[in-house]
């Protein structure tokens, strides 16, 4: 580690600082717009927002979908990586995991439509196998009220993301710690808890926070696979933002600021739950 040349450091960091101005300005401008009511500073918009039934149902709906999609993606990603990392780390394995990364979320959403909608492949196959009579007897899995189509899309897209985040950890990890735990009489659970989790949890947490934030506020997949009611929070925001006379624009800003705050709270909570001391400990060693 060098420590001289402060000017050089600042010069090197100048581009990233210039970039950070953009999202920072965006966030503060959105906050400001949500706090201005008829020319003066007030919480009027938030009062109005919190009285809206559509806002709450949309928020809880979005949270449910997001928690399920994030959780399932993390679990599948973790299981795949820890079981198969020697295979994934070779070229064919890596390429196959990169494959879904090539497709935009909305394209993956379209694939889910092709497979799971009532006139999709599975319905078609079940029909020809004689399991269902007509396409109407195939369960509604896309544009459904439970958001199954959205969850399936996110799982397909986010599992590779989780695998690629976790892969370096498993490849570089010292696997002798596990043998040490076993030698000392620890079981499989102890080996996982003491020789694996401390290394994996910070990256898993980071991936989880990124996914949670992304899924909660993404627009494309709900647009394609969401139900008309309840709507994901991003769809509601977009509708308010472009509602005819702009009178609902402050609501759009307030909804997005509330979502941002929620993401902040959840990330902080997750961060607090996972053992912070261990994180710092392992960070220095890797």
């Amino acid at each position: 580690m060098k420590s001289s040349g402060t000017t050089k450091i600042w010069l090197l960091l100048l581009p990233v600082f210039l970039f950070l101005l953009l999202p920072a300005y965006g966030l503060f401008s959105a906050l400001w717009s949500s706090l201005i009511h008829q020319g003066s500073l007030s919480l009027q918009t938030y009062q109005e927002l919190f009285q809206k039934e559509t806002f709450w149902s949309s928020l809880f709906y979005s949270l449910r979908i997001t928690f399920i999609a994030t959780g399932v993606s993390l679990v599948i990603g973790l299981l795949l990586t820890r079981t198969f990392y020697p295979v994934i780390n070779r070229l064919p394995g890596k390429l196959s995991v990169w494959l879904p990364m090539l497709f935009p979320h909305f394209v993956w959403g379209y694939i889910v439509l092709l497979l799971f909608e009532q006139s999709g492949l599975f319905s078609y196959m079940f029909h020809h196998l004689g399991i269902i009579e007509s396409r109407e007897s195939f369960p509604i899995l896309t544009n459904d009220q439970n958001g199954i189509g959205m969850i399936l899309t996110y799982i397909g897209k986010e599992v590779p993301f989780v695998v690629l985040m976790l892969l370096p950890v498993y490849v570089q990890k010292n696997h002798q710690y596990k043998d040490l735990v076993r030698t000392l009489g620890g079981g499989r659970w102890a080996a996982f808890k003491d020789a694996e989790w401390p290394w994996v949890s910070p990256i898993l947490l980071e991936s989880g926070v990124i996914l949670f934030a992304f899924i909660l506020s993404a627009y494309e997949v709900p647009y394609l696979l969401g139900a008309t009611f309840p709507e994901m929070i991003s769809i509601l925001t977009y509708d308010w933002f472009y509602a005819g006379d702009w009178s609902e624009r402050p609501l759009a800003f307030a909804a997005m600021i509330s979502t941002s705050i929620l993401i902040g709270i959840v990330s902080w909570g997750l961060y607090a739950i996972t053992n912070r001391k261990r994180w710092l400990l392992t960070k220095g060693k890797r």
Binding site: M1, K2, G5, I9, L12, L13, V16, F19, L20, L22, P23, Y25, G26, L27, F28, A30, S33, L80, T83, F84, P86, V87, G93, S96, V97, L99, P100, M101, F103, P104, H105, F106, V107, Y110, I111, V112, L114, L115, S119, L121, S123, Y124, H127, H128, G156, V159, I210, A213, S217, A218, E220, Y223, S234, F241, F253, M256, I257, T259, S260, I263
Partner: protein, 269 residues
């Protein structure tokens, strides 16, 4: 031991086939066959109609070039920011470093929609809304955090020793960067280019808001297509989305060939 590895390999490919390969292959199959009719018997009609229709759309060709152009500029800006910040974060200790690291992650934690509607008015005032400049700028938000992260890790695993050696040998920083940093960082740069381009290509809503319908990227053509075109054309269009990063990647690889120490016959320099 060997046996379990072999066993694991088979297991892995079964899972991967179900999760990733099958959906992609089905999409490919769809793009070459007529839409399935529910009542008729099981058989596939081969057709090139989907691809022919797709490429006869002028809009698609134009949008492809717009997407490539915007993607290329976004990639270049990402590399500039990522390489400089990555270098600083990998090799220097300074006050507020961990705060800065958290700040760099924050654009992908804050809803992109919040940031976009937040900067919209300012972009109108600056005259860059409805132009490609505005679209490029907004595409930086979901990409740069990843670029900095990947390139920082690249520099960290490179270590200081080889860079110090270069410093001893020649103080021209640009030449040092071209002949040492760039070739050695190639894997990290590759991942950055690829990921950045794919993310830029995938942005629909922020492109629609900031571009105001004037900057028509591929994503902006795809969404209206969803309601009008048949599944064969849409499947071909979907495949096109994945092919484009490949084309871009090949272009970049050709550019990489121009770098020092890439040609096998060039042993002296």
């Amino acid at each position: 031991m060997m046996k379990t590895l072999r066993h694991k390999q088979i297991q892995f490919w079964v899972y991967i086939s179900i999760l990733f390969l099958f959906p992609v292959l089905f999409l490919l199959y769809k793009s070459f066959t007529l839409p399935m009719r529910y009542e008729t018997h099981l058989h596939a009609h081969f057709t090139m109609q989907g691809w022919v229709t797709l490429f006869s759309e002028n809009q698609l060709i134009q949008a492809t070039f717009v997407s490539l152009g915007i993607g290329a500029i976004v990639v270049i800006l990402n590399l500039i920011v990522g390489l400089t910040a990555g270098y600083a974060l990998a090799f220097y200790d300074f006050k507020g470093k961990s705060l800065l690291e958290a700040l760099i992650l924050f654009p992908i934690i804050i809803p992109l929609l919040a940031i976009t509607i937040g900067v919209h008015i300012a972009m109108i005032r600056l005259g860059i809304a409805d132009t490609w400049v505005g679209v490029v700028l907004i595409h930086l938000v979901p990409t740069i955090p990843y670029a900095v992260k990947i390139l920082r890790n690249g520099y960290t695993s490179l270590g200081t020793a080889i860079l110090e050696q270069a410093y001893v040998l020649g103080p021209d920083p640009w030449q040092r960067f071209l002949s040492i940093d760039l070739p050695l960082l190639k894997p990290a740069i590759r991942s950055t280019i690829f990921l950045t381009f794919v993310i830029s290509l995938s942005q629909y809503v922020i492109t629609a808001i900031i571009g105001g319908g004037n900057v028509v990227t591929l994503a902006l053509v795809f969404f209206p297509f969803l309601n009008s075109a048949n599944s064969t054309v849409l499947a071909a269009f979907s495949i096109w989305f994945a092919l484009l990063p490949f084309l871009f990647y090949i272009l970049i690889e050709l550019l990489f060939l121009l770098l020092p120490y890439q040609k096998p016959w060039r042993t002296r320099s």
